[in-house]
């Protein structure tokens, strides 16, 4: 009986040590993209005289924040191109077609970080941005990162803006005319800690 008791105590101690060690080895906090309190919107020039505004309604993502070693932090975002919404159904249908997003061929726009640095007021994140089947390396400045505890749920938010040229991502240059080449993408992302 004493022998079994000793084995149980040793197992408990080892388990506690391993669990504590695992915790310290993985200090990064993981967050899921909160679809309710986040948005990915964009605007592009129309005829070079005005701006067309739109958003993507279906976005998924996650990020991990290592506050001790920010270089270990990672960010991922997946945008479903089919969910494009410019408040005009006919235009949305047109944007889904191969002349623009080609959503049947390229159903997602993806960003995966490859390098993260802490900067004042947030993080500088470099990563692979894949749109329209073309992957380019871009750098984002994510502003924010302050954790907020709301009713027992920890939340972190970031916001960023990036300017992209459609021609850099394989969009047909003949369709770049009425709608300008350059598009501004605005990402406001709130993460819920897992």
């Amino acid at each position: 009986m004493r022998r079994y008791f000793s084995v149980a105590i040793i197992a408990l101690v080892i388990g506690t040590v391993v669990r504590a060690g695992g915790k310290s080895a993985s200090a990064a906090d993981e967050y899921d993209y909160d679809t309710v309190h986040s948005s990915v919107s964009f605007k592009a020039r129309h005829l070079d005289i005005s701006w067309i505004h739109g958003r993507f309604n279906e976005v998924e993502g996650k990020f991990s924040l290592d506050r001790d070693d920010p270089s270990k932090s990672t960010f991922e975002l997946t945008i479903k191109t089919d969910s494009v919404d410019t408040a005009n159904e006919a235009r949305d249908e047109h944007l889904r077609q191969p002349d623009y997003f080609d959503t049947k061929q390229f159903p997602t726009i993806e960003f995966t970080s490859t390098k993260t640095n802490a900067v004042e007021g947030g993080y500088e994140v470099t990563g692979d941005f894949t749109m329209h089947g073309t992957t380019n390396t871009i750098t984002l400045i994510l502003k924010g990162g302050k954790e907020h505890d709301f009713k027992g749920t920890k939340r972190v938010a970031f916001s960023t803006e990036l300017s992209l040229k459609r021609s850099d991502f394989g969009f047909d240059e003949t369709t770049i005319g009425p709608i300008g080449d350059e598009a501004l993408i605005i990402i406001d992302c709130e993460g819920v800690r897992k």
Binding site: E93, H94, Q97, Q105
Partner: protein, 303 residues
């Protein structure tokens, strides 16, 4: 060098199988050159690996069809082997055009289940093979330029309909096809007239390119654009109405009358589809161009 069109001996030479084979190859190369010039003129991009359905159509399906027709023109290749190649291409083209798209993705990201994918690919392949086979059979039974002209008519309507459905680049792909097929058909007729033969030079190559071109434009319009299945099917099957002249009262009419009747019958469903496409364009796409917005404002002001 002997000029075949001016020298009677050379004209007789053209009637020989070996010369006809060379002439057929020349027509295939002419179609390829015409398409290359046309697509270059329309600023179509040539990228490898191809990025989307239209790229795959232009860089894989069209060259494959032309290569098969080049092989088909060779004397030593048996007919069954040529048809085996054609049917293999017909079965493969739908899979090639859908490559990498949501239709072939497995899991939650895909639009279709594996069963749906297999069924759709089989039906599309069968439609292309059936169209190709039936029009070739008709071309053997009752040769004439009218079948290729009917295909040109269908391709042109397909291009316009795809454009009006919102896929402008996909619709534009039809125009070099039509121009090249028309040019080679007229060229073949002129050569036949000058050499005094009844041979329909380049008929199989023109027909193959017409069938594959029509299928390709409609397929990318349907699966990547917003072309409806019923419109796509109506335009794909419209050239089969050329068979109407095989009924006894029409069969032995003069060739020009048979050809005209074929074109009229093929044009009927195409006109209906174009009319419906124009109606949909006015309702859905025109507001993006500002036309309906203006008329709506006018109605509002008048009301």
């Amino acid at each position: 060098m002997t000029e075949p069109l001016l020298n009677p001996k050379a004209m007789a030479e053209v009637r020989r199988p070996a010369s006809r084979s060379r002439l057929n190859s020349a027509f295939v190369l002419g179609i390829g050159l015409g398409l290359a010039v046309g697509y270059h003129g329309l600023s179509f991009r040539w990228v490898w690996p191809p990025m989307n359905g239209l790229d795959r159509f232009l860089t894989i399906a069209v060259p494959a069809a032309l290569t098969i027709e080049l092989v088909a023109g060779l004397q030593r290749v048996p007919r069954w082997a040529v048809w085996l190649l054609r049917m293999s291409l017909a079965a493969t083209i739908p899979r090639i055009l859908l490559h990498g798209s949501v239709y072939l993705m497995s899991g939650s990201g895909g639009d279709w289940t594996p069963w749906q994918t297999a069924t759709a690919l089989a039906i599309c392949g069968a439609l292309l093979a059936g169209l190709w086979g039936l029009l070739s059979w008709l071309s053997q039974r009752c040769p004439g330029a009218s079948i290729r002209l009917a295909l040109c008519l269908a391709i042109q309507c397909a291009g316009l309909t795809v454009m009006m459905a919102g896929y402008i680049k996909g619709g534009c792909a039809a125009f070099p096809l039509v121009a090249t097929l028309l040019a080679t058909t007229v060229g073949a007729k002129l050569i036949a007239k000058r050499t005094g033969t009844q041979a329909d030079f380049g008929a199989s190559a023109g027909l193959a390119m017409g069938v594959v071109g029509l299928f390709g434009v409609l397929f990318i319009g349907r699966f990547f654009g917003r072309l409806s299945t019923s419109c796509a099917l109506a335009m794909l099957l419209a050239p089969l109405l050329c068979w109407v002249t095989e009924i006894p009262p029409l069969r032995h009419r003069k060739p020009w009358l048979v050809g005209s009747i074929r074109l009229v019958f093929v044009a009927i469903p195409l006109v209906v589809v174009l009319t419906l496409a124009k109606r949909d364009f006015d309702r859905d796409m025109a507001p993006l161009l500002g036309k309906l917005q203006e008329s709506a404002i006018r109605r509002h002001v008048e009301g």
